[in-house]
Symmetry: C5
Subunit: 361 residues, 5 copies
Amino acid sequence: MFKRKYSVPGTAPATLGAPPPEARPPVFRITEYGEAGVNERTVESVADLPPTAADGKILWIEMNGLGDVAALKALGEKYDLHPLALEDVINVGQRPKLEPYGAHLFVIAQMIYHDRESCLCGEQVSIFIGHNILISIQEEDDEDVFTPVRERIRGGGGYIRKLGADYLAYALLDSIVDHCFPVLEKVGEALEEIEEDVLEKPGKNTVAQLHGLKRSLMQLRRFVWPERDVVSALLHSDSTIVQAETKVFLRDLYDHTVQIMDLIEAYRDVATGLVELYLSSVSLRTNEVMRVLTVMSSLFIPLTFIVGLYGMNFQNTTGDGSPAPTNMPELHWKYGYLGVIAVMAFISVCQIFFFKKKKWL
Amino acid sequence: MFKRKYSVPGTAPATLGAPPPEARPPVFRITEYGEAGVNERTVESVADLPPTAADGKILWIEMNGLGDVAALKALGEKYDLHPLALEDVINVGQRPKLEPYGAHLFVIAQMIYHDRESCLCGEQVSIFIGHNILISIQEEDDEDVFTPVRERIRGGGGYIRKLGADYLAYALLDSIVDHCFPVLEKVGEALEEIEEDVLEKPGKNTVAQLHGLKRSLMQLRRFVWPERDVVSALLHSDSTIVQAETKVFLRDLYDHTVQIMDLIEAYRDVATGLVELYLSSVSLRTNEVMRVLTVMSSLFIPLTFIVGLYGMNFQNTTGDGSPAPTNMPELHWKYGYLGVIAVMAFISVCQIFFFKKKKWL
Amino acid sequence: MFKRKYSVPGTAPATLGAPPPEARPPVFRITEYGEAGVNERTVESVADLPPTAADGKILWIEMNGLGDVAALKALGEKYDLHPLALEDVINVGQRPKLEPYGAHLFVIAQMIYHDRESCLCGEQVSIFIGHNILISIQEEDDEDVFTPVRERIRGGGGYIRKLGADYLAYALLDSIVDHCFPVLEKVGEALEEIEEDVLEKPGKNTVAQLHGLKRSLMQLRRFVWPERDVVSALLHSDSTIVQAETKVFLRDLYDHTVQIMDLIEAYRDVATGLVELYLSSVSLRTNEVMRVLTVMSSLFIPLTFIVGLYGMNFQNTTGDGSPAPTNMPELHWKYGYLGVIAVMAFISVCQIFFFKKKKWL
Amino acid sequence: MFKRKYSVPGTAPATLGAPPPEARPPVFRITEYGEAGVNERTVESVADLPPTAADGKILWIEMNGLGDVAALKALGEKYDLHPLALEDVINVGQRPKLEPYGAHLFVIAQMIYHDRESCLCGEQVSIFIGHNILISIQEEDDEDVFTPVRERIRGGGGYIRKLGADYLAYALLDSIVDHCFPVLEKVGEALEEIEEDVLEKPGKNTVAQLHGLKRSLMQLRRFVWPERDVVSALLHSDSTIVQAETKVFLRDLYDHTVQIMDLIEAYRDVATGLVELYLSSVSLRTNEVMRVLTVMSSLFIPLTFIVGLYGMNFQNTTGDGSPAPTNMPELHWKYGYLGVIAVMAFISVCQIFFFKKKKWL
Amino acid sequence: MFKRKYSVPGTAPATLGAPPPEARPPVFRITEYGEAGVNERTVESVADLPPTAADGKILWIEMNGLGDVAALKALGEKYDLHPLALEDVINVGQRPKLEPYGAHLFVIAQMIYHDRESCLCGEQVSIFIGHNILISIQEEDDEDVFTPVRERIRGGGGYIRKLGADYLAYALLDSIVDHCFPVLEKVGEALEEIEEDVLEKPGKNTVAQLHGLKRSLMQLRRFVWPERDVVSALLHSDSTIVQAETKVFLRDLYDHTVQIMDLIEAYRDVATGLVELYLSSVSLRTNEVMRVLTVMSSLFIPLTFIVGLYGMNFQNTTGDGSPAPTNMPELHWKYGYLGVIAVMAFISVCQIFFFKKKKWL
């Protein structure tokens, strides 16, 4: 879960190593748009990509799939992407960051989602932002997160066809960041369910689930925290790529990252409180169980001793037949049995009184 | 409790989504006042609202109820409110913040109160501050918190009719912030009650209540902390809307937020200390219960063994009638019974001595 | 303990509410002094107070007792004290702070002392510092803390009659701050006593005392931390009231607040360590008690079973008189009794060996 | 593990003390390279080292082994290395740091690796960076970490033969820093293994392993944290030694240190969570064990008492032969045995009902 | 341990109170040295001290012993030492600090050492640094720490006779700071010893020792942390007393304080980890003990009940002699005894199977 692909220590910087395991062959999508219209198509290889955007248009190139290192290298050469950035693209699991490289701003973000087994996954999205070009590289051709953005480009409403590549980058990041809200909502619901369990029936499962949720929150935090810094760096960037019109939206996006961090911290506090509650709940149950055991044992142990006492077989004659009147004469008393029952009742009453005083009953 | 309404990820910014569930239709109140007098009325729709304040007067428009998105949109267009701000108005549960949007300062605050079941609730209050206009938007037409301010405007004493819209904003925020004092007072009283329970009779209820209080404090903190930043940002704002005369009051308000934070932190520390105290109290009780059990068991277990021993039925003749003098001759000793009682008394005395030394008795 | 008086939410700022409960009627003391001499007297009402200091003299007005709101208001009008400051004077329990209001520096400090039941109390001291006038307002006419300062003024040695009202303010604050040293010394002694108890005889009382001390330290911290900021703010104040000659003394006072904070933190760490030590001590005792119980029970439970076994009444003839030789023939063996004792001894030796290996004995 | 060699307190600064225990005699390697080619050789003594790099070439001198203090002193004199730096070279176990001394930048780094027993070790690497000279000093002639760099120099690809001594320093540091990735990967795998154990079969071994991992992470953190500062200091150095071309690589290296810190923190959080999980797991198991004990004991203790009761030997005649009809008449009742069995069954059913209600069964 | 002498609250600043308890009469040592030679002597009173250093020489005056307040006052007057500084000299237990007072820099440091009972002690060293004069004041005439410095002055090697009073101050502080290394080494060894105990045989002693070590580390931290600030303040001082030549050494000293802090933090983390390990170790042992108890009890309790059952004395004739065949007919069955043994064996096997499944065996 906390893994990060890395090059072999000592390799030269900017060496493109093997692609991540299970990487797919890349698919290239081209979306060229302007105020007038949109032009979408899919191509097979880097060679078929247009080198620059048409006049007054924005060119968005998507490379979905990291299985072909040569294609990535070709892409880098065609658009003059910095080799160190490409190394980060292929070594997935990077911490989100913003790095200005020559003519581009290079952004790494992590898209967080629950997979089919409700495990939290992160998929690395790398974005190169140029003046009227944006290149986004994903691990898989998973349309979910960018589909609404593409729809907005097609629809043509709002600002997206009027502003530049920086606004497109904002829209993509906004879509990635806002994906944390449903993820967090699910975590919040799970926490509420667990809260009820903790007090009612704390079990092994409860604490394992709680542990899993804390782990998820930790991981969310690891990725969202630096994303906040990325947005802040874009907001305060002095690069000419980020234009003033976009900054009001970036400020709004920054506010979203702050709110997500705020929710994560709140949930972490709740989870920590639940672990504490769990421990005190178990501790209290142990105490209760102990009390019952102690009361039962203490009540009956002396009584069992007494009845055992009068179950002894001492004889009132010695081996040679002479009388041994001190050997358990009680057994022959007229009211011996009633007497011993009375004694036992008295002992029990005393003990119950003692336990009441101790508030164990 | 920690929920926040959000737009579907990927929707265009500034899209006004559905109103929050259970939102009511809006009520519009108009309060126009100046040094000379006050003019209050209620209107039905946005169209009936005056576009600007009369000369030398302050116009306060209240929109109470978020059930009508179209009305909100109309309000935004009429007074040139920024669409991103309106999105925050409708997505209730926002973190308090101050955002300058064009001609307005946009403030989000959260009003904290105990509802009828003594649960802590937050209601979002959004405020647009202009040069001589103030628009406040609440979730419900709940007059409680703003009634005293309205009374002060009607009464005409103090500064409220002499200063501008910024002072009105201060008065509203002050009323919201000061509402935390009675809330905290109630929490403090609950903590004091719990403290007595923890040492006397720690139970499942105690720890659940404590947990609930910690949660309340956490939530208060989440809302008051950013409110402090809002006040600070207003205080250091270079906007011409906030005038020098108001700043001394904002400084006082800032001081109130600091004191509330200070109380919250103090109560959090107290609550944490109580959890700790609870755990050590339960742990100590378990130890005490264990000690009683151990003393009782250890005292009687050997004795029970001994009486069991002499309850055995070994015969002093073998199956074929030959004598078996080694089979429990003690039973035929003259002082066998007294002897065994003496042995048991001796064992008990030794054990009591041992337990005294261990300080278990 | 953590209470703070507050105005009803929504009241206009600078409204003087009811005096604190149990407030006494005020007593006014006047001390006018200069290099030449000292003039002390007590007056009944605000009207009898001199409006300004005589030429070249310093006027120190003490108002001890908050029971008369009208007098406080009159004082404020006579000396032009800011209404917001007066509100803070009457709402006792404020966080220490320094606020410049017009011609005065307004300082709130909290005097900490142990009351007769060894509880920690705080008394609010409000000080207005002007150019050659100082007005101090206390809750009670409790001379303790300011008596040494008054003595120094009478005595005329040192710097106190040579420097201005700022030095007098320093002297008062120094007296308040240094009062924490004996308070802390008492806490330190209590901690040392508890430390011995924790290892020797951890009891309910120990942990309650520890909890009380932690609470005291928390409260001390709450008041001393902002007092440090007050002194620092005075030190770096650009007001002409604070003169260069006084700053070296303020620096020394600042150092005292740092040292008090340092001691408080050290004691807090010690107290936290003691709670930890207490828990592990109880935990270890429980383990020890358990071990004894387990050893005793495990040793005797199988033996008790065996003796019970031979206490059964199976008959070696069946109901119809035919022999049942398999019914407990051991009882008729010649060395049956010795044999069973040997078996029990063997079992016990095995168990003791096992317990030795486990290091439970 | 956390040791640091130090000079006797009070010795003059820059005194070269004894070499570290088990230090080996030094081996000197010389690698002189430029764009044209590479020249490698090994010499015996400091005297044989070239005093400066040939024109347009970079001279890399390696001194591997700290066993000969005189040689170190000679090296220092020959290349004008600062005596305080040499003291740090010999006192191994230093915190990583960057110190500008005259014409050199002096860097201390710690190489982290798992030794044969899977213990974490650190080896100090000291580097003096000059304008076209670099002197590296290691504790042992352990080629592992620098071999890939040497290979790159020989290979001549990439930037290494084109850029200066600062790039060589970067390459060495990069190799040292990236060595943490496999170390962390191993720690991560160990954590995953432990996680399974914690819930399934928490044992003494589990917690000891967890403790060992936490210790390893703590140590990694101790060395990587200051290494991050070293890289940052190099990056922002105003020394002419560090050239602009190298800075983009240093920024990448800085990013690696940040990512390593991030992983370390994540693993620390996981380890802390596992300790918590372990404790609650053990606590829950104890509770479960207790419940079984309590149920078993409580069920049978009253029954054992009852059967003991009817095992008493009270006689229905007194010592003098007169009848004692109140002595255990039940034994002679016709359905006495069935009755007592019925009573016991009823008691058991009641108890089972009670335990079900308590959810202990 | 955490005590600090203080003046009575309210006393005038710069009042020299009583000397610390057990203070000794002062001894004055004079060491005057320059490049040419050294002149050492001891005098009886302040009057015999030379007022200034001879030309081109450095005058080091040591006052060892605080028993004579008058002598301290005289010293202060003779060398124009600030009265507030003298108050700090006599109120031992001060936090280390640097304070510029007129012509002097006033430094307070705390020398840390283990006393004969291995307790950690601190001795306050006060140093006044002038242009070519240095006055050091210690609590006792304890030569240990300054002897190596004096030796270096006598020996004349290194820098000590070439540089000024600031270098002497550096040498003294260096000697004080480096004294922490052996202290920490001892703590580290103790931690290693405890670590073994914690897993093998956690006892009351273990946790008390651990608590003591944590306390020692806390105290070390309290004194070393501000000493780091003192060195940093000297390093960045703009006073002409601290010369550029000395700064490289101060930087080295600063590095030592950082390394000591680093070690202290590492040891604190280790100690915290050990407390955690201790608690989980005890918790696990309790669980293990419980398991044995539960298994033993659960195995034998039902068996003991059964044998008790057949130890009952129900008679197969009623009181009036009529048969009661339902009264324990099993006792007369032919294979009753073997049958009951078989039943018990079956029950035991079932239980063992259950315990195996639960992994308690």
